[in-house]
Amino acid sequence: MRRTKLIGLALTLCVGLAVAGSAMAKNIKVGIVDTYSGPPSAYTNDVRDSFALQVEKINAAGGILGNQVEVITRDDKYKADIALGEAKELLIKEEVDILMGSINSAIALAISDLCKKEKVPYIVSFSKSDNITGAKGHRYVFAVTENTAMIGKAGAEALAKKPYKNYWIAGDDYEYGHAVGGDVWAYLQKLRPDVKLLGETWWKVGTPDFTSYITAIQAAKPDAVIVATGGAGCIPFLKAAKATGFAAQVPIFMHTATELSTLKAIGPDAPEGVMGTANYMFYYPDTQANKDFVKEFKAKYNREPAVGAYYGYLAANFIKSAYAKAGKVDKEAFIDALEGMKVTGPLGEVEMRAFDHQAMLSMFMGVTKKVPDYPFLIATEIVTVPGADAIPPIDVIKKAREKAQQ
């Protein structure tokens, strides 16, 4: 008799708690699936940390539409099968409102496809293949990071001004590598029809030793090399380029070569004179907005913000503004509000282009140089390409998507 009473009491308590729990305001859940192990983490940690900082501010000010924002992160270890597993778990078990991530373009495309089927908005926070918002873009995917078409245009403009004629393309053998190498080359050929491609080298993603590839490229004696490495390859390749003396002999262009995440990870061992593009530098432009952003990030995390921090900031503020405009926690209303949304950040106003859901980020081209003020190299001779000029025109995207449908 006594035992039954106890069980009955316990059951009532449980039911009571469940009812009480469901009566509380539901959190807005954002699930981030990204690579937090190995070389790519040098880039992605900043996205996660900056996003968390912005979410903290949003929650302290009352949240979004009265709901607190909850962030759940998962490590995909740079592998697509793990990433998809985690994404599915976040969608089905955690019932996230928004998915975010990843640094690997192949993973981003896979999760983008999943989100299209599940009709959940996906914000790409680092991967740059132009297929993401281009040929394979759709209603449910947004990019707060630049893409390879923009990189290609900006990089090609810088290279076109140089006297180099014979090029070599080398990079990681996957989606992003081919996209960025191909795009830079395509735009360069348009600007300078006299350039010649001597050859290409593609190595397996995660290749640890570049010595034999470097010596093989040197044997071909190109005027310059377009290095198409991604999250896993940028840092190790630059290190090898300096260690073998390659960077001193052949001019190199690499996207993110001038970026803090890359240069800080290598430290004083980074090669000088490497050309690169990036979309955020904490020291340029030296505006008050940028200074404030840097100060806030540094106060919390005790390091200067790299480009990932900029993406994290943009993502959080796009989410906040879109929900505010939509007026309700509904995925379709969120997407409608996010299209064309403008957000003001450390580098000024950024627009999320309505047609292809691509953020119109500005590109900065520069050359690496050692300076006494920092324990890492910085970019000098900086040239700015505004977002509106860098982004491919809408009809190019339209054509690419139509071609992909066939």
């Binding site: 937090y36 192990s37 190995g38 070389p39 983490s41 040098a42 001597l198 050859g199 290409e200 080298t201 593609w202 190595w203 397996k204 995660g206 640890p208 030793d209 010595t211 034999s212 590839y213 470097i214 010596t215 093989a216 040197q218 044997a219 071909a220 004696k221 840092i235 190790p236 290190k239 090898a240 300096k242 260690a243 073998t244 003396g245 390659f246 001193a248 002999q249 990870a265 290598i266 430290g267 061992d269």
Partner: protein, 298 residues
């Protein structure tokens, strides 16, 4: 498919030299594996993990001792020794109890060791990117004719034959070497003659694992020091050992030569399919001589 323009004789020669420096690492690691396989009859799957531990330890020791050139050389001496000590510990406490068991047991045990070590490395060192700098004198290249040759590769080209010579001396001229060779052929006889076979095994295992650690320490400045190093090297090492002849150290040298040079030349001659070259070479070897190139001790 770019083929002709850069395949000059100088370029080919340079690639072969770079390939030979790769051979050094492959040889050091495979010879350790071959030694253990030949004498103890253990396919040590944890060999790759020990190589990885060697690399991580080299990184930590260099950092600990100031991060500069001399620190790296000290680490080159200390890291493999530490790996050897670790292996001795494992051998005395766990492995030695399994010698009487069947093969599968030993292999499964080393496999589980590999997994444990792999995760242990992740727990101790974390999964961030780790980078070890070459000492100043080893950075950059110097010119051979018109082509630059990385200095560290030349250093490895010197270390390789030194290790090979040392191993030859050990196995042919020292007492422990001769006993080990005897034990490889007929361990019961060695026991019958009154030699403590158990300690011979311990010594051989230690030497084999020392070589794994040495390979890892040597490779550390040229690569990402990260998880996954163990998986790549163990496959290559086993292929080389099998192609060269089980238990035969000179077979390991030959196999490593073929593997390393095929890899480098492949990159020059056919970049898109470069990664296939060394494996094709192994397939060709095994098709023509299934028991391996040189005589095995099994």
């Amino acid at each position: 498919m770019i083929f002709a323009p850069q395949v000059t004789l100088t370029a080919l020669g340079q690639q072969i030299l770079v390939g030979l420096s790769k051979t050094t690492i492959l040889f050091i690691v495979s010879s350790g594996l071959s030694l253990v396989l030949g004498v103890l009859r253990i396919p040590n799957v944890a060999h790759g993990a020990l190589y990885m531990i060697g690399a991580f330890l080299a990184f930590t020791f260099t950092q600990y001792m100031g991060g500069s050139g001399p620190a790296f050389f000290a680490a080159l001496l200390l890291a493999p020794a530490a790996v050897a000590l670790l292996s001795l510990l494992v051998e005395r406490t766990m492995l030695s109890r399994l010698y009487e068991r069947e093969h599968m047991m030993l292999m499964l045990f080393t496999f589980s060791l590999a997994l444990v070590f792999g995760d242990l490395v992740k727990m101790v060192w974390g999964s961030d990117y780790r980078s070890l700098s070459l000492p100043e004198g080893f950075q950059g290249s110097f010119m051979i004719g018109t082509l630059p040759m990385p200095r560290y590769s030349m250093f490895l080209l010197v270390v390789g034959p030194l290790v090979a010579a040392g191993l030859w001396y050990l196995t042919n001229r020292t007492k422990i070497g001769k006993i080990a060779r005897a034990a490889a052929v007929h361990r019961e006889m060695v026991g019958a003659v009154g030699i403590n076979v158990s300690w011979v095994f311990a010594a051989v295992f230690m030497i084999g694992c020392y070589l794994a650690g040495l390979g890892g320490a040597l490779v550390a400045p040229t690569q990402n020091i990260s998880q996954g190093m163990d998986h790549t090297i163990i496959i290559e090492a086993f292929l080389i050992v099998i192609a060269g002849g089980l238990g035969n150290i000179w077979g390991a040298l030959l196999g490593a030569l073929i593997f390393g040079v095929a890899d480098s030349v492949g990159v020059l001659v056919w970049p898109q399919f470069a990664i296939v070259f060394p494996y094709v070479a192994v397939i060709v070897i095994l098709t023509l001589r299934p028991s391996g190139l040189l005589k095995s001790t099994w």
